[in-house]
């Protein structure tokens, strides 16, 4: 499938997840590197979200999805900081959301040299196997469907 369709569908899937949790969402009119703004309407907290979507493939190591992150996105400090959501499409459904802050991804990348540097970007390969998810030798299990920062809100 055309990557524009894949990318936009993943973005909308992430927006739907935030909405069902009671958070308002918006797409920036100007592309400054954020795909989605998420807002806690009552207290005004805002999150910047960058969505990356990949079609998973079955490989020898397990179901594998690869995500390309530009070096600039990974290194740039911002307030509020960027959150990455890696969306995995597998067996014709949204199988996993890897929710990880830019700072956490940066720290793992720097400390364990995970990901493959390709010019101005880094390719992160996530392998899903028997309930685990790994990037290189690092477990990403704690980031799998990690929506705890956005507990469901009750609206009157």
């Amino acid at each position: 499938m055309n990557k524009n369709y894949t990318g936009k569908s993943g973005q909308l899937a992430v927006m739907a997840e935030f909405l069902i949790r009671g958070y308002n969402v918006a797409m920036p009119e100007v592309d400054e590197g954020d795909d989605v703004f998420v807002v806690h309407h009552h207290v005004g907290t805002l999150w910047r979200i960058q969505v990356k979507t990949a079609n998973a493939r079955r490989e020898r190591a397990g179901v594998t999805a690869r995500f390309n992150v530009t070096t600039a996105q990974l290194l740039q400090e911002r307030t509020p900081d960027l959150m990455f959501v890696f969306v995995v499409r597998s067996a014709e459904r949204w199988s996993d959301f890897i929710v990880i802050s830019r700072a956490d991804l940066r720290e793992l990348q720097a400390e364990f040299t995970i990901g493959k540097v390709l010019g101005a970007s880094i390719l992160f390969g996530l392998v899903f196997s028997r309930g685990t998810v790994r990037c290189g030798k690092q477990s990403f299990r704690r980031f799998r469907n990690a929506w705890a920062a956005w507990p469901a809100l009750v609206h009157a």
Binding site: A72, L75, E77, R106, A110, E111, F112, T113, V117
Partner: protein, 119 residues
Amino acid sequence: MPTAARKPALRGHTPARAAARAEQGPLIVNIGRQGDGCTYRLDPLSKHRLKAAHRRARAVPTVFIGYTTREEFEALQGPMWVQIVQMLTGVTAEQLSALGGVELHDPDNGLRRQVLSGS
């Protein structure tokens, strides 16, 4: 040759394999300038170096300092940099100098500024 040895270095950070080479160099604080201010954060590998030397140091993960315009960044915040890096590290300026000093890096445009020199 091991696979890891073929990985090119990522601009703005030191891969773990090269950390030993950087041990004598300054600690790195990465910055990000945006419309209303600047965010400061200790680079992950510098954080590990600091932890190894000062295990009990208590520090804040990030500092955000506002400004009115980007142009006044250095003039306004430059005099505060020593205080900022002490907040980010939890140790004194003398202890930071003993570790090799501190540099600010802006990965967006390659800007580098020395905050503290090594002793």
